[in-house]
């Protein structure tokens, strides 16, 4: 297989974007400093001016710039999302990544030549769903939910050849179907769907109780870490809870996704692009993981083994990784 996988990398700040480009990204994705994207953290993301500079830098370097406008537009405030689409078109991005049907409709009719990618937040979890968005809005690429196995991926690429497929291989793993999870807003009032945040930092509290580090979200205890035990961010679905009389990581261990070893299988299944999650991570993370994946992809294209993302191990939650739903036993 000589077709090279496209490497899609996150950028939370212009310096992270530069790091991604230097490390060998084929495409970078970023968002604006508001709730139109699903990493709406304070201090993160790009102003319109920074977006224009970033797009220009990317074009100079032959990298595809993409802007995530992947939250669901709030009724009565649709103009915020429309403006984001307008700005993205104006600065000359290679694609926008959308989830909301209203936003997709606006983009498709206003900028028919602007490439539309379907965000994982749209939860297109089967070939029929992909076909729906392709039919209505001519989406060119779909980012598949992290619930898919490699076989599921193959079903999509086989039955929807007109739509490219992009899958996550590294970073934080959503254990619930993306775009339709309101765990965060149940506890905190803010959600990834409307506000672009999951388990928002404003509601996070870490407290040392003696040797134990307690993490809380909106007052709910999400985890306790013993001395020396690797810690994690109190994302609700990665917490330790009590059920049936015992405490455990009920939904998912605080691990990160690392499907690097599966690159050959993903390529064989017809995947066009592989995606790194992590706009909220620092540029050190981006530089390390992107560089590693660049080598892995190039090695694969030259017929060699992909290797394991060794340096990623130092960057992961709990110090551990999983291949997630790509392996069926995860379910």
């Amino acid at each position: 297989m000589s077709r090279t996988l496209e490497l899609v990398c996150p950028a939370g700040t212009p310096s992270a974007l530069t790091a991604a480009v230097e490390a060998g990204a084929d495409a970078v994705y970023f968002g604006f400093r508001d709730r139109t994207n699903a990493r709406n953290f304070p201090g993160l993301n790009f102003s319109a001016a920074e977006a224009a500079q970033a797009a220009a830098l990317c074009r100079d370097r032959g990298v595809r710039p993409m802007i995530a406008i992947n939250t669901f537009a709030a009724a009565g405030q649709e103009h915020i999302w429309r403006q984001a689409v307008d700005t993205a078109a104006r600065v000359g991005v290679g694609a926008i990544i959308v989830a909301d049907i209203g936003v997709a409709a606006y983009a498709a009719r206003t900028y028919p030549d602007l490439r539309l990618h379907l965000s994982v937040q749209a939860a297109a979890a089967n070939p029929e769903a992909v076909a729906y968005y392709a039919r209505l809005f001519n989406v060119q690429r779909v980012v598949l939910p992290r619930v898919f196995t490699v076989d599921d991926i193959r079903m999509v690429t086989a039955s929807q050849p007109g739509v490219e497929v992009e899958v996550f291989v590294l970073g934080g793993l959503c254990v619930m179907a993306e775009g339709r999870c309101t765990l965060s807003s149940y506890a905190t009032g803010r959600s990834p769907n409307r506000d672009g945040v999951c388990s928002p930092a404003e509601d996070v509290r870490y407290e040392q109780e003696g040797d134990v580090l307690v993490s809380r979200l909106a007052g709910y205890t999400i985890n306790r870490f013993g001395p020396g035990e690797d810690a994690g961010y109190p994302t609700l679905c990665k917490g330790r809870f009590e059920a049936r009389g015992r405490a455990s990581y009920l939904f998912e261990d605080p691990v990160s996704l690392d499907a690097t070893a599966l690159l050959p299988d993903l390529a064989a299944a017809g995947v066009t692009a592989i995606k790194v999650e992590g706009r909220q991570r620092g540029k050190a993370y981006v530089a390390a993981v992107v560089g590693n994946l660049r080598r892995a992809i190039d090695s694969l294209a030259n017929g060699g083994p992909p290797g394991v993302a060794v340096s990623a191990a130092g960057f992961t939650e709990g110090g551990r990784t999983t291949e997630g739903a790509y392996k069926r036993g995860w379910r």
């Binding site: 669901f72 537009a73 709030a74 009724a75 009565g76 649709e78 989830a99 909301d100 049907i101 209203g102 409709a105 606006y106 749209a122 939860a123 297109a124 979890a125 089967n126 070939p127 029929e128 769903a129 076909a131 729906y132 968005y133 039919r135 209505l136 619930v147 898919f148 079903m155 254990v175 619930m176 179907a177 339709r180 309101t182 765990l183 807003s185 149940y186 506890a187 009032g189 769907n193 409307r194 709910y220 205890t221 999400i222 985890n223 306790r224 679905c237 330790r240 809870f241 009590e242 059920a243 049936r244 405490a247 455990s248 009920l250 939904f251 739903a325 069926r328 036993g329 995860w330 379910r331």
Partner: protein
């Protein structure tokens, strides 16, 4: 208020055995409180083979009792078997059979024919509603997460389009769905080989924090709120906004009594405060919540202003 606002009994979320389901639906059929009943498996396709006969039987006697019957569909169909089940149900749509789509795959299969859209699909604004209406949606149930201003805006657009807009008002709140089964996982099993342990918990498995605070419930692959949605004092505002149906999700309490409270509220026989009191009593020690509609955390309880 008025009989124009209908009461819909939402789909049963829990894995009740066939006999229990039939008893439940017979009681619903024998009473005239609910105008429409939504049947079908929304959570996990593994349950379907055991309950589909009972579901079809219930559909028949509910229809004979004058109820409108709607078939809902899986919230997360991924595997070939799940997609096949989805295709079967969507294939039934038309000829007096109403089918409700909960995700885009069902919308594709129903595209161009009259259909409904359920609360698992993200309708957050009027633009989205307009697109769905153009593709054949005749009735939608809005997601649980919406606050009042969004409900008003979308409902207004619905009225312009001639669509029925329904809002969930009672019952556990579905917060998330996954390809992984946390219910099986809590028993040391996986979704393959799950032994249908979800059937052991008639109202879902309680999940608490390490401090012993009740928090969530797990129902197979679905995560629910531990608190029960109870909208009562908010109902007049919803009706005024043009909401034409209230969706009530079945719990393990007297659902006929719950329905009657809402009917009495709509008919002006009781006011919001009295309705809330009766509903809380029916819930026993389950906590009530109404935060989402008030733009707050879903688990919270917000007092409604007397002038609302």
């Amino acid at each position: 208020m008025t009989r124009d606002v209908r009461l819909t009994l939402g789909p049963l979320l829990y894995n009740w055995p066939a006999g229990q389901r039939l008893d439940f639906y017979r009681a619903i059929a024998a009473d005239d409180t609910y105008d429409a009943v939504v049947l079908g498996e929304v959570v996990c396709a593994k349950r379907s083979p055991f309950v589909s006969d009972a579901t079809l039987e219930a559909a028949q006697f509910l229809a004979q009792a004058g109820k409108e019957v709607v078939f809902s569909t899986l919230a997360l169909p991924v595997t070939p078997r799940e997609r096949a089940e989805l295709a079967d149900i969507c294939g039934m749509a038309g000829d007096g059979v109403a089918v409700e789509a909960n995700e885009a795959g069902a919308l594709y299969l129903l595209d161009g024919r009259p259909h409904r859209v359920g609360p698992y699909f993200n309708i957050y604004n009027a633009d989205t509603l307009r697109v769905l209406a153009r593709r054949g949606a005749t009735s939608v149930c809005l997601p649980w997460e919406l606050e009042m201003s969004s409900v008003e805006a979308i409902t207004g657009a619905g009225r312009d389009l001639g669509l029925t807009v329904e809002v969930p008002v009672f019952g556990s709140i579905p917060l998330a769905i996954s390809a992984r089964c946390a219910h099986a996982r809590a028993h040391g099993l996986a979704k393959d080989g799950c032994q249908y342990v979800c059937g052991q918990d008639a109202e879902g498995m309680a999940v608490g924090t390490l401090d012993g605070q009740t928090f969530l419930r797990v129902n197979g692959t679905q995560t629910l709120s531990d608190a029960v949605l109870v909208l009562a004092e908010e109902i007049p505002a919803l009706v005024a906004a043009g909401v034409s149906a209230l969706r009530i999700t079945p719990e393990g309490v007297d659902m006929v009594a719950v329905g009657r409270v809402y009917r009495d509220l709509l008919d002006g026989v009781v006011d919001g405060a009295m309705a809330e009191g009766t509903l809380r009593a029916l819930l026993g020690d389950r906590r009530a919540a109404n935060g989402y509609l008030h733009g707050a955390a879903g688990a919270g309880w917000e007092r409604v202003n007397a002038t609302a």
